[in-house]
């Protein structure tokens, strides 16, 4: 095991991307993810890579589109308002089946919102964000180590399924420092015979394209894409279960909310309350199976979120509304405290599922 170093989450993403073989980064300054760009600006020129500060988020995601078309690992990073601007590009990446990594270090919204941490882009990330039928693989790190590991994983999955992977972090994850081990294993990028790298006069021309004017053809492409998505759902779902063995209450939380919830769960356990946590690591595909299983075991779910209640819909869908699900939240850049979550756990324990 390599020596651990203290790094900010944003820096860990940047370093992990370089380790994963990413040599092209395009971005536009926005708080609270600026360290990713700063790190890349410093490192890329020294390793023969490209760092380019684009004129806009829109340009940045289209530069990503260009590099992805040419078959190289490529990324951009931003925060909520910037991701909205990238929405067009995300849809085109999906429509052209291009692999890329996009990082969203979320801040409070809507509009210009604030700059403090938030999870209110959950819908945008898991439901698409741009127009059309598509998904991104959405990865939700809850530590600086995971910021690094899921960045590598994001590149690998993007290449494997020709999809965009999104790291859905938040201001806390981006700004905090924790020890991180960077001896990360990286699967080499697969061959990309579809890439536009020049025909070399040896093959028919490749076309990277999302336009299909024939509706039957476009339907066929959509159906084929969703077959691939089904494979992702079957093979790539990730989650963590914490103290769920005998749990009667299940907390659902990801990212920083899961960290806060673990404190509250440990306190509640000291009081004899049987409570556990399911932490989705992939938000899309959502880990439906553990929630479905838990629905036969617990009497209540608590969805702890930094939003007005977005993931809670997936919890209800996964559990088919068999057990009450209660929202425990703060918004606008505020973070639920362990005490707030503990209080909700106590209340759930007393009510015995009567929401």
């Amino acid at each position: 095991m390599a020596d651990k170093v203290l790094m900010k989450g944003n820096e860990a993403i940047a370093e992990a991307a370089i380790i994963a073989g990413c040599r092209h980064y395009f971005g536009y300054p926005i708080t609270p993810q600026t360290e990713v760009a700063a790190y890349m600006a410093k490192k890329m020129p020294k390793i023969g890579g490209t760092f380019l500060q684009a004129e806009s988020e829109i340009a940045a995601i289209n530069m990503v589109y260009g590099v992805a078309s040419a078959g190289c690992r490529v990324m951009t990073s931003s925060s909520s308002p910037g991701i909205s601007l990238k929405g067009e590009g995300l849809s085109y990446l999906a429509g052209s089946d291009l692999p890329a990594l996009v990082v969203n270090v979320q801040r409070g919204g809507p509009g210009l919102g604030g700059i403090q941490p938030s999870q209110s882009d959950y819908f945008q990330a898991t439901r698409g964000g741009g127009h059309g039928d598509y998904h991104m693989i959405v990865l939700a790190p809850a530590s600086v180590q995971e910021m690094a590991e899921l960045t590598v994983k994001g590149f690998e999955l993007a290449d494997k399924y020709r999809m965009t992977s999104m790291i859905l972090a938040d201001g806390t994850m981006g700004q905090m420092m924790e020890p991180v081990a960077l001896d990360l294993a990286v699967a080499p990028a697969p061959a990309k015979p579809w890439a536009t790298t020049g025909t070399g006069m040896k093959r028919a021309h490749n076309i990277v394209n999302s336009l299909s004017l024939d509706p039957e053809e476009l339907e066929r492409l959509n159906l084929a894409r969703y077959e691939r998505y089904a494979e992702v759902e079957a093979n790539e779902t990730m989650y963590e279960e914490y103290r769920m063995e005998d749990a009667e209450i299940c907390v659902a939380a990801f990212g920083i909310a899961a960290r806060v919830s673990k404190n509250a769960i440990n306190e509640a356990r000291k009081e004899g309350i049987k409570v556990g946590l399911i932490r989705p690591i992939t938000l899309w595909p959502f880990p439906k199976a553990p929630f479905k299983k838990a629905a036969g075991q617990v009497k209540q779910f608590l969805s702890v979120e930094l939003s007005m209640g977005q993931m809670i819909e997936d919890v209800r869908l996964a559990t088919e509304c068999r057990v009450p699900v209660t929202l425990v939240n703060r918004v606008g850049g505020m973070i639920p405290s362990p005490d707030q979550v503990l209080e909700a756990i106590r209340k759930a324990s007393k009510n015995g599922g009567n929401d």
Binding site: L6, T31, T172, Q175, M177, E178, R259, V260, P338
Partner: protein, 179 residues
């Protein structure tokens, strides 16, 4: 010690984040679980800056310190804002050169250190933060020369190696200060 939560707070420019980073690196060199979380945004530009540091023998849950075991206040607004948040039985270290009042809580240990004055008297005016750190480590029976030195080498990059000695000196001044 299983878990100890620190909150550093002061004006931007007083070295609040650096002091927190030092402590985090010290934890890292001692194989502890650590987290360091800064405040960020416009308040960094001359307003109040703060950072949360957690050192633990177990994995760190929430990195946000809302009930610090140790509060380090380097200006009055910080003491006003966070005094009531300190965990009962906790400690408040504060720069008594810049803070004209004493701690009101009676269920915590207050440690006033005229850090800015000591720093000025010793020709190291920018190192009041490290004087406070020295005092904290002393009071926590954690001032071990070897581990302090190891942490300083981690937090101060090689190109600023000339700063090692003076930082150590500041911490020693803090550790030796008897109020």
């Amino acid at each position: 010690m299983s878990t100890r939560q620190f909150l550093f707070s002061g004006f931007g420019g007083q070295g609040i984040l650096f002091a927190g980073k030092f402590l985090a690196y010290k934890g890292l060199t001692e194989d502890k679980q650590v987290s360091w979380l800064p405040s960020y945004g416009p308040e960094m530009r001359g307003g109040t800056a703060s950072c949360s540091v957690i050192l633990s023998d177990e994995p760190v849950g929430s990195p946000i310190v809302s009930k610090p075991d140790v509060l380090v206040a380097m200006n009055l607004p910080s003491l006003d804002k966070f005094e009531d948040a300190v965990a009962p039985g906790g400690m408040i270290f504060y720069d008594s050169t810049l803070i004209g009042r004493s701690v009101r809580r009676t269920d915590v240990t207050a440690v006033p250190v005229p850090a800015t004055a000591i720093a000025g008297d010793n020709g190291i005016p920018t190192l009041a933060n490290m004087i406070l750190i020295g005092k904290i480590l002393k009071e926590l029976n954690d001032f071990d020369a070897a581990s302090v030195d190891a942490a300083l080498k981690k937090v101060i990059s090689a190109k600023h190696a000339d700063m090692l000695e003076v930082n150590y000196k500041a911490m020693k001044l803090g550790a030796d200060y008897e109020g």
